[in-house]
Amino acid sequence: MIGVGKVKQYGNVLDKPLNKGKTEVSLSAFAFLFSELVQYNQTQVDNIGELERRLEDAGYAVGARVLELLCHRDKGNRRETRLLGILSFVHSTVWKVLFGKVADSLEKGTEHEDEYMISEKELLVNKFISIPKDMGTFNCGAFVAGIVRGVLDGAGFPAVVTAHFVPMEGQQRPRTTILIKFAEEVLLREARLG
C-alpha cells in the first residue's frame, strides 16, 4: 500500500491534527531561545519591574493557548468550574506538558484565604540562569507566572500571579514559589457553589 510506514508531511502546520504532539524539544535549544527573549526585553525597558512585566506578558500568551490545547487534547473539552479543579489542572497537567514533570507542591496560603502557592525546587526556565547581585529579587520565573495567569484567566479564574525566590536552609539555591492571588469574584463564586 502506498504511504504505509511513512510519516505524512503536512504542507501547512495548521493542517496537522491537534491530537498528535507530545514531542520532545532540546533543552539547550529552549534555553538559548529563552535567554535571547530575556536579553531582547532587557534592551527595551528601563527598570526591572518593567522587565518582569514583559516576561509575564510573554508567558500570558503561552498560557492562553496551552489552556485551549490541553482542554481539547487531555480533558475531552470539559471545563473546570471549581477552584481546586483548576489548580490541580495547572499543577499536574499543564506542568507535565510544559516541563515534563508535575510541580513539586501545591499549598494553600495560611495568611490569606485567596492565596495559593505552587512550589518548585528549580524551575526549568531558570536552570542555567544566575541572577547578578545588582538585580535584586528579579526572577525569570515571571515567565512561568505569566503562563499560569494566562491559563487561569482563560478558564475564568482571574488572579494575580507572581514568582518568588524562597531561600531554604541547607540548600545553596533558593526554591521558587509561584504565588497565586485570586480575585474577589472567584472566591465569592466558589462560596456560592458550596
Binding site: 539547550s28 534555553a31 538559548f32 529563552f34 535571547e36 527573549l37 542555567f128 540562569i129 544566575s130
Partner: protein
Amino acid sequence: MAAIYSLYIINKSGGLIYYKDYGSAGRMDTNDTLRVASLWHSMHAISQQLSPVSGCSGIELLQADTFDLHCFQSLTGTKFFAVCEPGTQQIESLLKYVYELYTDYVLKNPFYEIEMPIRCELFDMNLTQSVQKDRVALLGQ
C-alpha cells in the same frame, strides 16, 4: 597527591575572563593573572606558526620541573588552561568538562555579556563541585 593549582579561561582576543586558584601558595595578584593570560595567549598563537607540520592547533601540554600546564582550545577560540602538579592525570577531561559547564551555565545565561569576565554563580558552584569530586577520587586511589 596530584593536584590542580589554578584554572584560567581566556576569550578569543586573549583577555582573561575567569581565574580560579586552588593552590596553597596564595592567590596571584589580579594584574599578574591578566599578564599570564595574555602571555599564554601570545605563546599559543606563536607556537601555531612555529610548528614544522601544517595544521597545528597550538600547544596542548607544557611540562616544566615544578608544574604541568594543560591547554584546551575550543573551536571558537576560547582557551581553557590549568596549571597543575607534574604528572597529574585526566586534566584533559577536566578541561573538556569545564568547557561543557561554560556552554551550559555561562552561555545560556541572559545576563552574561560575551567575552566579558564570568560572574555566574551557577558556573562557580558546579565547577567547585566537580573539582572537589576529582580531588576525592584521586585521594581514594
